[in-house]
Structure formats: C-alpha cells, structure tokens
C-alpha cells in the first residue's frame, strides 16, 4: 500500500514536472515580472526609454520618427538621453509583452506606444499614467481632432495617451467598371440599397468582375470584424457595446441587418468566391492581384490600401489611385450623420511606474509636434490626428494616397469598444459572419449563436438585447 502511495505521489510529481512549464507560465507572468527586457527602466534619472513595436521588413518609419524626435529632444534637454527599445514581436505578442513589462517597476518603459483598442484596458489595469493635467497646459492639444482624442480617453474622461496615427475605412470603387455599368462617377451612395444596387448593376453589365468585395473569413481575423461587420453595424442605429450600461449588445435589429447585408452579397453571388475569400491571404489577393487587374467593382477597406501600389510597395501600380476612387460608407437608411467609418490607431502613453514622468511627457510633446508627426504620418501612410497637419497641402497632396478623403471620414468615424474582452468578442463576430456568408446559418441563427457565445465569455450579466 505504501509502495502504491509513493507511486501515486511520484506519478503526480512527474506529471507536474513535465507539464509544469505550462502551468508556471501564467503564474510567473502574474508574479509581476515578465522576465525579459531587464535592460530597461531603473536607469539613471536622465535616461528615458521608449518602447515600440518593430515587425516585418524595414523600412521602420516609426523607429525613424522616434529617432528624429529623440535627437531634437536631446538637443533641447542637455544631459538627457532617450533610449529606444524596439520590441520585435507580432501585434498580439507586442500587446502581451508591454503589459508584462509595465507590471514591474524594473522593466517598465517610460514612454510606450499603445494601440487605441487596448489603451483603456491598460489604463484601467493601472499600467498607464493619466495625462489630463499635462494636456491642459499644452497648447498643441487643441489641434488634435475630438474624434481622435476620444479614442485614447476612457469612459470616465481619463486621457491615457496622445494619439499619433489613425485610420479610416470606406468604399473603393473602380471608375472604369462603374462607367461600363452605367453608374455615376464620382459615386456617392446614400444608403445600403444604393451599394447593393450598384453591385447588382455591375454583375449584370460587367461580367467577369467581382461586384463587391468584403472580408468574411475567420482567417482574415480583425479585418472581417472591423472592415466588414463593424462598418455595417455602426451605420445602423445599434452598436456593439453600450457605454452607458457597460454591457455588450448581443442581439439588436442593427446586428441582424448587418448579417442580412452580408447574406445578400454572398447568396446573390455579388461577392468573391468563397475559396478566394476564406483564407488568410484574402486581403493580399484583393489588393495586390484583383484590384490591379481591375477585377473588383467595389471594395470595402482601409485608407492604407493604396500604400500597396506605391513604387516601394508590395504591388507597384502608379495608376491605382486614378482607377480606384474612395468614397464614404453610407449609413443603413441614410440616417444622420449620413455616413460611417471605423478607426483604429496608436497613441503615446506614459507608464505609471515610470520614474521620469516629466521628461517622458516632454518627449511625447516633441514627438507629437506638427513637424515630427507630419513626417511620420506621411511616410507611414497613416491618417493624422492633428487638424493643422490635416489641412496642410503637403500632407493632403501626398502622392499615391487618399489622405484628403480619408481624413474627412473622421467627422463620423467610430472606435471599437475599448474593452479588454473585445478580442474574444471579435472572434465570435468573425464566426457569425463566416457562417452567414457560407450559408451555414441564417442571420437569425448566427446572431443567436453569437449571443450564446458572448454570454459565455463575458458572463450573461454583462450582455443585453435591444
């Protein structure tokens, strides 16, 4: 018996040893120290560290921008050193890494780049320093557009970062295909019906092209959620999240209408074939193959899209911004404000555990001044959150971009719910959209399934029906 007991104990211990790696990982993360990056933080009081993401192939415009800003900053602040700390990681890994870094004073950077969809979650986690008092005394702050400010401000009015880049989404349409189909150019659809009718006209009169392209696959991830579903939903009278009650809206007429729109497109063969669209490469196929061959009538996508067609882009095509034009996405029935868009973006924030908060704030002011930010936004192809840059002809007329049109969308744009459960909810949206597009379920069934799944993830008490 004793022998058996020893066997049992050692069996458990063995299982624990081999599997221990799995169990210990979250524990050590929670223990307060991410482990890596011990080089940063805790340095001399005259050094500030700036952490940012670096991924993929160069050029890294964000690094060049921060370097230029650091140089200018060091000139004005003798004796102060700015240390850049690139985090080489994909987007998701970057979020995880900075969160772990900011948990501990020994690793927390002073300044950090934050994605606006995570900034409020990080703020409420206590990682970020509120900047309300700082921006009050900063004259440049009035130059930032209100819509963009709201992206880095929490529901209770706490400002957690200074936005430095953003984006909007709209409808790209092919001028030549529209002319062949007898559709007006410039095109200015007033409601969803106009969009569907245009797609039908293209299908009838211009055979061989895809009338309407939108991402509907789980494989295309956030693009399916943001470029397709949320562009529809935020044009109805409903949203994803009720900021007054802090609850997720899991069933609503707008949600159903959005799924029905997707059903219309895919059941009437107005969209691309499923084999084209249901894989992770669908975005590249769309922008780098189908559009340059002018095989897409209308595509719903982000303002960065023409960057692919620049001479240093993935699929150079000088005439791209002539053959395709960008127009605003209308609301469902043309209800006020008439159009809709979705925006993401990035902001510079100060870590709460930073020992150099004053210098960190001074650095953010330098990096986000007109000159430095304009250089970055033009080179990176991002929309600027500053009004004075947005009205600068140098920016508006930057070649190969739709800055002027895309910036005008910021008047009616929306941000994703700044809730830490958003990524999990977003996955459920993708599941619903894909099942409707493939015909696996009706819009009603898909919405019910979505409601069940979100209730499970966030708890039934945190959801509501409209």
């Amino acid at each position: 018996m004793a022998k058996r007991l020893i066997g049992a104990v050692s069996g458990i211990a063995l299982a624990g040893l081999v599997l221990g790696g799995c169990g210990a990982t979250p524990a050590s993360g929670a223990g307060g120290n991410g482990g890596a990056h011990s080089s940063s933080g805790g340095g001399s009081s005259n050094t500030i560290t700036v952490a940012y993401q670096q991924f993929g192939k160069p050029p890294y415009f964000n690094e060049e921008w921060l370097q230029q800003s650091a140089k200018a900053f060091e000139k004005n602040h003798p004796g102060v050193t700015v240390k850049l700390e690139p985090i080489e990681a994909s987007e998701n890994d970057f979020y995880t890494k900075i969160d772990l870094m900011m948990k501990s004073a020994s690793t927390a950077p002073d300044v950090v780049t934050e994605d606006t969809f995570l900034i409020n979650a990080d703020g409420s986690a206590g990682y970020l320093q509120p900047l309300n008092d700082d921006v009050k005394n900063w004259s440049d702050w009035s130059q930032f557009s209100d819509a963009m400010k709201s992206g880095s401000t929490s529901n209770d009015g706490t400002i957690y970062g200074v936005p430095y880049s953003t984006d909007t989404r709209g409808l790209y349409y092919d001028v030549n295909i529209f002319k062949k189909a007898g559709l007006p150019v410039p095109w200015n659809p007033k409601n969803w019906n106009d969009v569907v009718n245009a797609a039908k006209a293209i299908k009838a009169k211009v055979p061989g092209v895809i009338p309407f392209f939108c991402q509907v696959g789980k494989a295309t991830g956030e693009a399916t959620t943001m470029q397709t579903f949320e562009m529809l939903l935020y044009g109805t009278n409903d949203t994803l999240y009720d900021t007054k009650t802090n609850k997720w809206i899991v069933q609503s007429p707008g949600f159903l209408d959005s799924l029905k729109f997707i059903q219309t497109i895919y059941s009437q063969n107005l969209g691309p074939s499923l084999s084209t669209v249901l894989n992770a490469q669908a975005g590249n196929t769309e922008v780098q193959e189908l559009m340059p061959k002018q095989q897409i009538g209308i595509a719903i996508d982000g303002n960065w899209l023409p960057g692919n067609w620049l001479s240093n882009g993935a699929s150079p095509w000088p005439d791209g911004t002539k053959d395709y034009q960008l127009t605003a996405m209308p609301t469902e029935n043309g209800q006020a404000p008439g159009y809709t868009s979705m925006s993401g973006g990035w902001a510079l924030s100060i870590s709460k555990l930073s020992k150099n908060q004053k210098l960190a704030w001074a650095f953010i002011q330098t990096a986000c001044n007109k000159q430095n930010m304009e250089w970055y936004d033009i080179n990176q192809g991002n929309l600027t959150p500053r009004n004075d840059i947005a009205s600068d002809p140098k920016y508006q007329n930057a070649p190969g971009q739709f800055f002027k049109e895309a910036t005008s969308f910021t008047k009616f744009t929306h941000f994703r719910p700044a809730n830490s459960q958003y990524p999990s909810v977003s996955t459920q949206i993708q599941t619903a959209v894909e099942s409707v597009a493939t015909g696996a379920s009706t819009p009603e069934q898909a919405m019910q399934q979505y409601a069940n799944n979100v209730q499970r993830i966030v708890g039934a008490g945190n959801t509501e029906t409209k």
Binding site: G16, T96, A125, S420, I457
Partner: protein, 310 residues
Amino acid sequence: MSNASVDVVPQPSKLKSKRGFRAGHTGWRAALFMLPSWVLLLVFFFVPILLTFYFAFTNLSLTGASSAATQFVGFRNFASMFADPTFRISVFKTIIFLIFSAVIGQQILGLLLAILMNERNRAFRSVIGVLVLAGWVTPEIVVAFIFFAFFSNTGTFDMILGWFHIKAIAWLYTFPMVSVVVANIWHGTAFSMLVYQAALGDVPKEILESAEIDGAGRFQRLFRVTLPVIKGSIATNMVLITLQTLGLFTLIYSLTGGGPGNKTETLPIYMYQQAFSDYQLGYGTAISLILLIIGIIASFVYMRMLKIEM
C-alpha cells in the same frame, strides 16, 4: 527539538528496525545537505504549482480592470470552460494527437526499430541509430521549420510528388493534424527507441533460447517472452512520452498556429490563446490545470492496463 530527542533516545532500536530511520546527527546532516534542493524545489516548483491552483480560481487578467483588482471567482472558469464548445473540440484534438503521435506512432515505431536493430550487426545499428537520433537531437523549433519546408505549398514533399505527376496538395491546410502528427513522430521516436534498446538488452537470452527450443515462433517469442519482460519499460516510456506530448506547444504552434480554424488546436495552444491573445490569464491557468489532470489520469490508466506497481 528537545522533546523529540527525549522521545527518540530511549527506544533507538525500535525506530531503526521499523522505519529504517536514523535519529541523531546523521539525520540532521542529511537534511542540511538536502536543504538547498528542497528550497529550490519549493520556490521554483511547488510555489508555481500552488499559484497555478490559486489563479485557476480567479479572474486574473493581463489587462483591464480585473488586472488591477483580481477577484476570486470560484469555479466560474471551469463552468465556462465546460460550456465552451471550443474547449471540447480542443480536448478531442489533444486526445487524437496523443493517441496517434505518442501511443501509436512513437511507441510502436520505437519498439519496432529497437527490435529490428537488436539482431543486426554493429555497423548497421550505428548508422540507423544516428539517423533516428538526428530527429531527436534537433530542437523542436528547427523540426517545425524543417517540416514547414517539407509540407508547405511549394515544399519538398509536393515537389517529390510532382515527379510522379501527382498534383500538389497544401498539406498543412488540407491535412493539418496528419502533418503535425508525422512531424512529432519524426521528432520523438528516437526516445522510445533508446528506451526499448536498453530494455531489450535486459531480456535474458536463456529464456528466449529455451522458448525457441520449445518451438515458439518469432511472434510468440515477442508476445509471450519479450514484451512481458519489458513491461516496466513500456509503462515508463508510455507515461513519459504521454506527458511530453500533452504539453507539446512549439511544434504545433509554429507549424499551424492551431489552425486552420481549430483543426490542430490542442489544449496547450488553446491555453496560450486564452491567456495571452485574449488576456484571460486566470482562464488560461484553469485550462493548464485540466491539462495536468489529464496527464495524471492517463498515467494511472497505463499503470492499470499494464498491471504495474510503481
């Protein structure tokens, strides 16, 4: 301490004979020498495991308000886990992966290799041994890259099939589970082979010879003599590779990322995604606890099946 010595001193013989325990200086000295390893085990092994147990019952999160104020939530993580269809799929995928790559693949192939090599000459053994071992000594991440190059759309395997005019297949997309199982078998078989080589060396030649004289054939000798004798090694090997396979992350994550869809989403991948992509550390920890329990259950099932006492 003084109490203990009073109790112990009058009856030293009883303690010695009954428990084999040596009272006095030697015991303390032994404890002193063991202290460093105990401290290390405590800090780096038992504390994390206890923390894992604790965090599994909290809403610990990487970001958001629940990160600043972590709360005890009882069995909520487990309740939502069992209500989650993705979790059930994940458990199923884990078991499929375990059975095909560890139990069937590595175990049987390893035994077969060991048996076939057992009766061959030294040169043959060393050549084959080195070839098989190459898979084992290759780091997991490198194995993943090798198999990615082998299975990917324009990879080696499709190129070879092309010589026979067989149309290219996107293996990692069309047959993702088969691909990761094959990769893991390639990587892990050498371990089983080594265990069985050692075990086969211990099978007494006399018994095998007398069985042969009695008219036992090759298979009868294997099933009636060799396997019963190496039963202990089979059990040990089964437990070890099961636990290794259950916790396998790098290979699957870098080959398929758990996809396409959730076709190769085993529990470690699911746990990683919940903890670090969806920021739900508490939930992820609860999944790791389930993984631990599956490992323990599997180990005991093997013991039972092979009627072995550890």
